[in-house]
């Protein structure tokens, strides 16, 4: 608990934590929504914000606030699937490449370099165009995004494992007959997990950004399923700006911005906490 209190002293962490709690509250609220997330014309169209409809209603006859609760839930689901899967791949590839070295290492790293060098947006467009029906599912979109997000962190983990491999405790473990699998899992995992955790947050940010971008192009998730991307796409596509339905357009934009900022600040303060040098610098500056 004291660690948490120390974190709250960091203003960025406090703000980020508050924002994320707020968004999580929205996610929980979505369970109690009085409206169906995908059905249209359930409420009067194009009403400005009022007590009854806190964020107004859109041109499709949906309540924007309750729509938002579903959107945040679905967007966070995609982000979590994408980032957890890509973390799993990154840890696996990084550890195997770092521990085995040699040919395996070279093949895996070249594979990673290719996904780094490819213009991600173009490739994602190509894939989601060809697999239009497959990508419409939340889980599948998450998996697709994960496939292009592991390479950089696998590289970081690999170099970490490579240096751990030469440490004495590795030799002790190997000499005392510890199996490779157990060695990696028990001895190396604690070193690798912090990296994986901070990159997890950055990765969520990437996945959300890509989800929104793909939705804007009319690709990715099924447009009738509310996510931040599809909400924004619907508002832009139906000219919310020119119809002066600002509550419809700005709700997803502002929410997305807050979400991006919260995730970024959270990852900053976490990586600062995990890197003691940066922590000393910060305390010294006070």
């Amino acid at each position: 608990m004291s660690v948490f209190r120390e974190f709250l002293h960091d203003n960025r962490f406090a703000v980020a934590f508050l924002l994320l709690c707020l968004l999580l509250f929205l996610v929980i609220l979505s369970i109690f929504s009085p409206y169906h997330p995908r059905r249209m014309y359930q409420v009067p169209r194009s009403l400005p914000p009022s007590w009854e409809h806190p964020l107004g209603t859109n041109r499709l006859g949906q309540d924007v606030f309750w729509q938002l609760t579903f959107a945040v839930r679905n967007t966070l689901t995609i982000a979590l699937i994408a980032s957890l899967t890509s973390r799993f791949i990154a840890i696996l590839v990084g550890m195997v490449a770092g521990y085995r070295g040699g040919m395996v290492d070279r093949v895996l790293m070249t594979l990673g370099d290719i996904t780094l060098v490819l213009p991600i947006l173009v490739v994602l467009i190509l894939v989601s165009l060809i697999l239009r029906d497959w990508v419409r599912q939340l889980t599948n979109l998450g998996l697709l995004l994960a496939f292009f997000a592991w390479a950089w962190d696998a590289r970081v983990i690999r170099s970490q494992v490579m240096s751990l491999r030469e440490r004495e405790f590795t030799f002790v473990a190997v000499l005392s007959g510890m199996g490779t699998f157990r060695l990696v899992l028990k001895q190396y995992m604690p070193f690798v997990l912090p990296v994986a955790f901070t990159t997890l947050i950055n990765n969520m940010s990437y996945a959300i950004g890509m989800e929104i971008t793909l939705a804007y192009l009319g690709l990715g998730i099924d447009p009738s399923v509310p996510t931040l991307g599809t909400m924004l796409q619907a508002a832009i596509y139906r000219q919310a700006l020119f119809l002066r339905l600002w509550w419809w357009l700005f709700t997803p934009i502002v929410t997305a911005i807050l979400l991006f900022i919260a995730l970024y600040w959270l990852s900053l303060s976490l990586s600062e906490y995990l890197d003691p040098r940066a922590r000393i610098q910060r305390i010294g500056l006070r």
Binding site: V117, L118, L219, L241, L249, I257, F260
Partner: protein, 335 residues
């Protein structure tokens, strides 16, 4: 000759290998998928309620297969893919039929290259200089404000930034034109009017790219300088009475600026994707806009062509950056 064998050749081999694998990946990707693009195309026609008699359907399928290069075994297709690639032939565009893909790309490329080149250089220059100052003069109030702004802008993706600028500067405060690369009906030429129109249309996309790219450079440069400023040679220079400004610019910032070029090269794929999405938001007539139209029309050939061109463009510019870098930085002269 040691330079050639020790650095140049391995780097060139790596370039060829990565480009080759990247293009093969682009070839293989659509073919790994469980769905057949030809069948999908047919399903699309049929979903419009078009009735196609069976023998015509057969004919359409073979024609489409030819167009997509999907005839024969996988190996034959692969050989054909490389053959056409070297000839620079990606077939005709399916949506703008008689025009060839390469012609469309050639028309759009100058817009993207111009935008990308200008903004990448500007973003890097502004970002690193400001970041260097923010890192060196940590306690100054104006630098703290700048840092605060960077903290908010940094996590925003290109798309959101472009949208915000679009709404703010063309709709709420209508200063700039909303879309296009040049006024409607104009043909780019070297007259004053034409250049002015190009500039006015280009400012917002360029601003988006400079802000997002600049903030990334700013943050990484700030971190580097914070590390460098506590190094011995800086303390020594201070003790020897070298002026603070001289230390900051000539010793610290210049020193830390060059390594960020390598970082720039590594993130070039992302910058390119960002430029594409920015073009789409502003309907700027470059590769991104072309790609957008291609996806809207399901123009498979055009998308394939753009993918291949982008892969080659990105790997080549990273190579160029890597090879030019030692000319700029005396510390890593080819050994």
């Amino acid at each position: 000759m040691n330079i050639v064998r020790g650095y140049l050749i391995p780097r060139l081999i790596q370039y060829v290998l990565v480009t080759f694998l990247g293009l093969s990946f682009a070839f293989l990707l659509p073919r790994l998928m469980p769905l057949d693009p030809v069948e999908q195309q047919i399903a699309q026609y049929q979903s419009f309620g078009v009735y196609i008699p069976p023998e015509q359907l057969e004919q359409i399928i073979t024609t489409l297969r030819q167009l997509y290069g999907l005839e024969g075994t996988l190996l034959q297709q692969y050989a054909g893919f490389w053959g056409r690639l070297f000839a620079g032939d990606f077939g005709p565009s399916l949506a703008q039929y008689p025009a060839s893909v390469i012609h469309l790309i050639r028309r759009a490329l100058p817009w993207t290259v111009g935008l990308l080149l200008l903004t990448t250089v500007l973003a890097w220059l502004i970002g690193t200089l400001a970041g260097g100052m923010a890192g060196y003069y940590q306690r100054s109030r104006s630098m703290k404000v700048l840092d605060g702004v960077a903290m908010v802008v940094r996590p925003l993706p290109y798309y959101i930034m472009a949208l915000l600028l679009l709404i703010l500067l063309t709709f709420i405060v209508p200063i700039f034109p909303m879309s296009g690369g040049i006024g409607i009906g104009r043909i780019p030429s070297f007259t004053l009017e034409s250049i002015k129109s190009i500039l006015m249309h280009g400012i917002l996309p360029a601003l988006t790219l400079v802000i997002v790219g600049g903030v990334i450079s700013f943050q990484s440069m700030k971190l580097i300088v914070q590390g460098v400023r506590s190094e011995d040679y800086v303390v020594y220079a201070k003790a020897a009475g070298v002026k603070e400004g001289t230390i900051a610019y000539r010793y610290v910032i210049r020193n830390a600026m060059l390594p960020t070029i390598t970082q720039l090269g590594l993130s070039f794929g992302q910058i390119f994707s960002g430029a594409l999405i920015t073009e789409i938001v502003f309907s700027y007539p470059g590769i991104g806009w072309l790609l957008y139209n291609a996806t809207m029309n399901g123009d498979y050939n055009l998308i394939m062509g753009i993918t291949c061109i982008s892969v080659v463009a990105i790997t080549t510019s990273i190579l160029a950056l890597d090879l030019l870098y030692p000319l700029v930085d005396p510390r890593v002269r080819y050994r």
